[in-house]
Symmetry: D3
Subunit: 325 residues, 6 copies
């Protein structure tokens, strides 16, 4: 009955039949006065919404966020937004053994591998102040760092996304310091590890992620700066010493422009590089997702975080037999 | 010989003859190969530059920054910038008893009066967390707060200017909370006192003020946020508790726009009001100076900090006998 | 049956039962081909919309704008906009004695008190030309000035709002001229009284306010300038004399920026101050309303007129027992 | 001795020898302490500056603005700005019969021809209100209209330039109403004649033109609107009647954008057309001058009023024998 | 039964009864699960949409794009957008003899007249390189040039609109070169003819016009530049010779600003003029349509391509008996 | 006598004594009427200007651009710009054997190594159309490609800079396609090789580089697109086939924003990546130079091409003994 196809693999008008996670389920009242449930379904391919009309009291009780369900319906388009027309829905029987965790998108590295990579990089930070500060803050926020998403939406918005995004930047950084040896690798690595760590305070958690009050009133960039300053006292460091200031600046300036929330623009070579690597990784991650969900020969939907641009997926295959020269 | 006129009271082509402070004195080489000294003179009316040509070695030794001098010359205009043509210059004789302090612009309140006003306002902060944080930080930076300027240039760029600007805002705030009683006066006063306190770290000191490295790489807004977070540990406060976050937000958002260096825009009624009162006081202070130095019936030079606008000083007297109706 | 609760006091899903004013009632055709009435209800707490389905001819005849009605229903949310689901609706019986005036939001001062305040301030305008021009124009537009709203929407959009907003600015101005005595109080008061008087020509009236053709093609700023020029002839004044130009400039520049509709930017100290006080009062009025309608611990809806920002209402009570020092 | 070449016909390093008008002459002090005169020379080809070093008292007395002089020197370039190196200068002998008027750039039509053209167009304004308002204001400002420049600098900055620029627009307008007959020709002609008439109040006069106080504090657009309103009373017109509002709107919106000083953007088809014809004529006039003063195969200096662009003058001749096909 | 009224002549609530073209017909699923057809109807007055509910299989088969139909219904407004409520719909009987061509909006000149005008202008291009390039490209794209619209939407979005828009610019150009004889008429005419010719590659065709892949990835401006370069080889021209570069620049710069897709800004007098004439004709064409569809005394809907402005249609008649003077 | 120090190694006030290349030498007239030569000196560390006063006719003859000279003088600062005060200058004796080539900054790879790298990468382009187009254009412009600078100023403004910049991007690209395997490496490499090849037409040559007319009127981005289209005919390719369009788009969009001269924004994943790698390499190259020329503990001059930012060179050494953990 179920297939190996995933939620976002269906084209418009395809019949849909598979187990998925009910990510959210809000009860509302329809124009005809009857209750319906606005649902969002999710599996590792992504998410899509649908409306469950004429909900009975027991439906409302059963179909709650976090439940695994067997979904049968049709993929449709409602005013340019994809959605599922639900034809039949039931709670997944216990014997399937399926749990929410089977459907949630995750970072494509294990937590263990991510921890190893980050630990290894910390060893490569030769400057002692920066190493101590990175160690202290990472110890303090370790669990959140390896489980939180990198954002509420847009890029790396999945469990472990924060660490995975950080590691992608570190990989780029390792190449860049080889190609441009004048860069201070210790500063670049330390800045990269800390740059988004404030998101562990800005965001509410790995699932159903929202902004905390601290996130709304202060923002992750300044929150982490606060934690850096606070970490100085027990480590007997002066928060206004040059080496501490350099690291603070790496974190503070990484959005590049004041308009994007950095209170200062990059004034160090390494700060400019960190900013650009951050953008590069975020763009590629977004575009990989966007292009994957676009049919060959067509343009994607508008990508809000890339100025509303639409991206083309060529018919052209990606690799081919080498030409004879 | 000397007159009671001050440095900026002279019109173009007037003969100048008075004691002034030599604010800066840089030795350079002229086109003809001989050394000259680029000088800036200062008294409480403001400052103006001049060139001392054909400087002898003893001139170079005598005419150094900080020296009080007897200046005779002529006020001129060099490519729209005012300057003094120096005709005769000598070090002020000891018997005049004049010191640098006699010529430096100061806040128009005594330090004692300023301390009283601020202390009184702290009593009016009813919320205990905010009161304790304000007390702690003010104790820590008291001396700098009452002697530093509010800026390197533009508004309140004089000794004690930082405290005087803060007090002006507090006075406006006292009126505003009376007129609009829904505002939280404790939050507004606490935010006002701390809003520019970070300048005591951003700027190098009360005289010959420059930006510190911390000022350049972090900026006064985030520097003070760091100090607020750091003050929480000894006071056993949680830097992410709501009341602490509200105060941090007051400081962080007071420039109003991200483009002006605030990492977050005002999201509290009181934060919006603080931002607007800050602008109002700064604008009036700048304009009072600008209009004072403009002749009636003329437009001022362009005011850089007000988008390069020029301001008109009317011929119209400021007050008159009341009309009979 | 009815309660003392007002229209905007209900939370989502609350049952609503109260007398309100039918502010507007437009008949439309539903998807099923039957007529329905799109209604807006109003009382002094604000306004909210609802749809009256399956309207009979007699419903259409009875439920017209301006009618007081007894509304029973439920508060709902339709795509982020609040609305009322109407369950029962009937015209208020005559014996309730309720009239439209009982439900319309008004300025929180009586007209008499507002007239007194403005008259008193006119006495304080010492410069005779400005006093005569203010008197003449205020006499001409007195009734409109004390009954019109200050805007179609946003701030002070209620009966008497125009005069009330003007008086709020005058109160701020009285404080400001005390704190900064170099300001010309006559010019500031005269400019403040006239600054928005052109809205009596720009807007259609105190109720169901729309823009007039003159408002759309000329705008209130230039309309008032025209009236100032026109008033000069009978008063034997030269519209290009300095004192008249100063007052014209106060009105013309009060939006601060060309992009906001001022044909010139402020070039007088008093014009800059008027612009800033106008913004300050408008912001506080808007924020008071916005924060009032937000639950503690939550962020408001986006405030369009403040760049779409959302504002936080703290859990923190506004005042508390004074800390022991 | 003198030649028929004009001031701007000389290339860099050419010897210059001709009669010119001394447009301005400011006495200043050189670095060596001696007075010199900063001069601007003018003839009908344009203007250029030069410095008269070591000026004697009698030089200062003789060489005053408005004097016709015999100039001998060399054309040079000083930091990208052209200038004349003065080798010999003397007041033109009375017997040459030369007067200032012989050297001032003028509109390329006689005043009489310009008056005829404008009068003829007024006859074509069929709508009576517009015709009466145009007649009244033109009668009032006739002399200024036919002698003032269109601007202090940039385009049509010569005597009679205001009327000439207006007539150029009227000529374009006559063609446009033929090609697009839905346009209301009366409104377009009336708006075109009045659009810049406020410059007769904004500018100080036909020579040595500066901005008046009215120009600085109100601006020509709103000044003319004031005059339109003021003209209504004697003509028994209502300044808020539709036909008057349409004409006011034509004038008020003709700069097209709020940022360019129009308090409203064009909201009439004819207002949009007037704005575009105004830009078209101004651009072509500027570019004709700019390209004339550029050598074939080179780029001009940056044209400030066209966003600092530089324009290319082709080697390509402008017309050639027709190709045989 | 049918009337002479056209599709856009009906006011809201009018009964509609006429033959029209079914421009598009998309089958979708309604909330109740039944198929409906989203239709767009068109005749020479414009187009309007409507929904055909409860579509049977034979309805879906019959009502396809391109079909002429007899439409009976009512004009309505759905959330500010006009639409037709369909009451009865049937395929037009063969005996009416109506075809799609009878309903499609066309250029108001015959193709023959347009070809004549363009050919005549080509004769007036005296410079041989430009004439040869224009001839070659026009020969190559002749059919598309005289049948394509000028755009997918906005101005001249009808069959033949591309040539008609080009000819309108040429007419303006003929007048302008007479009034400003320094302009190079050959360059202006050649540039005008080619400026939008790239749209024959950018757009898919004269009907149901969409963007081609070349249009999306390259754009009409650079596509035509590519064709110009490519045409040089057979004509033995150097694409980097001055005369070819001048013509390429005319095409490349005609959008005026980089932000509008021109890779270079106009750097020739004629390029600036072409850009302005292009804007003038496009604006007038758009405004004629907009004002036509607005009732006297009302403002139009927002015109997206003119910065979202709304335009007023005066009550004022367009022409009247001449006033007696 | 001469030292191994290079031109930019001297601090302000240092005595300078070394052989350098006279990069440019313009004869001008000083205020005292005597000729002087405005010179620019260059060696591999960079360039700096100086003025040679009171030039004799033989000086003017000897000191011409391209000459190697022995320079003795002093490094000074003239209004924030560094310059050399020339004390003694003579043409380098023939016996030194020094030629211009010894002083011109070059790419830090040999031409041979650069050719090898590019050839190797071309082999890795698996898609035949792209490989053939790259081969053809590189063959055509090979010499220019390996000798031209990448720009007139800013980054890679040295001989061979164009190829070196391209290779730096290719190295980054090789790493990126490994880390993000979904990217089409053939397209990225082909686009990278061609992206700036148009500069061989836009710029005048490897030395004394200026913009050509084609560069000014068309620009390197569109010039290369023209060459791509032109190359299609002999290769029997359709310039509007998908694979050709993809490559054209890579080149056309690589400036990222319309405002920066790209006629289209990136609409392919690989185009976005190319744009970002281009910026990354250019920024690092500029910053390496800027930071090199700044003293430790100081901020650089403003970097125009990076929005006028100033960059800090830390006192902090770049690497240190690893901390013991």
């Amino acid at each position: 009955m179920t297939t190996k196809k995933q939620l976002l693999d269906y084209a418009v008008d395809d019949a849909v039949d598979l187990y998925v996670l009910l990510k959210s389920a809000d009860v509302r009242t329809a124009k005809n006065g009857k209750p319906y449930i606005a649902m969002v379904f999710e599996d590792r391919s992504g998410e899509i919404s649908g409306k469950y009309w004429d909900a009975s009291p027991s439906d409302i009780e059963n179909f709650v966020a976090g439940q695994v369900v067997h979904l049968q319906g049709r993929r449709e388009k409602y005013q340019t937004h994809p959605q599922i027309k639900i034809l039949h829905l039931q709670v997944a029987p216990a014997e399937t053994g399926l749990t929410a965790g089977d459907f949630i998108e995750r970072a494509p590295m294990t937590r263990e591998a991510m921890e190893d990579y980050v630990n290894q990089t910390i060893f490569e930070i030769e400057q002692p102040t920066w190493q101590r500060l990175v160690r202290k803050l990472l110890t303090q926020y370790r669990d959140q760092f390896f489980t939180y998403p990198a954002a509420k939406s847009n890029h790396h918005a999945f469990q472990g996304g924060l660490a995975f995004h950080t590691i992608s930047i570190l990989k780029l950084a390792h190449h860049v310091v080889t190609q441009y040896p004048d860069l201070n690798s210790s500063l670049l690595y330390a800045g990269a590890i800390l740059h988004d760590l404030g998101k562990t305070i800005e965001l509410s958690g790995p699932k159903a992620t929202t902004y905390t009050l601290a996130g709304n009133l202060v923002g992750h960039i300044v929150l982490l700066d606060g934690e850096l300053v606070r970490a100085c006292d027990p480590l007997k460091l002066d928060p206004q010493a040059e080496d501490v200031l350099l690291l603070r600046h790496m974190v503070l300036s990484h959005h590049g422009l004041l308009e994007y929330g950095s209170p200062v623009r990059p004034a160090l070579r390494e700060a400019e590089v960190l900013h650009q690597l951050d953008e590069l990784d975020a763009s590629i991650m977004m575009l990989d997702t966007v292009v994957d969900h676009t049919a060959p020969g067509e343009f994607s939907e508008r990508v809000f975080a890339l100025d509303g641009r639409r991206f083309y997926r060529p018919n052209q295959p990606q690799s081919q037999p080498k030409p004879e020269n």
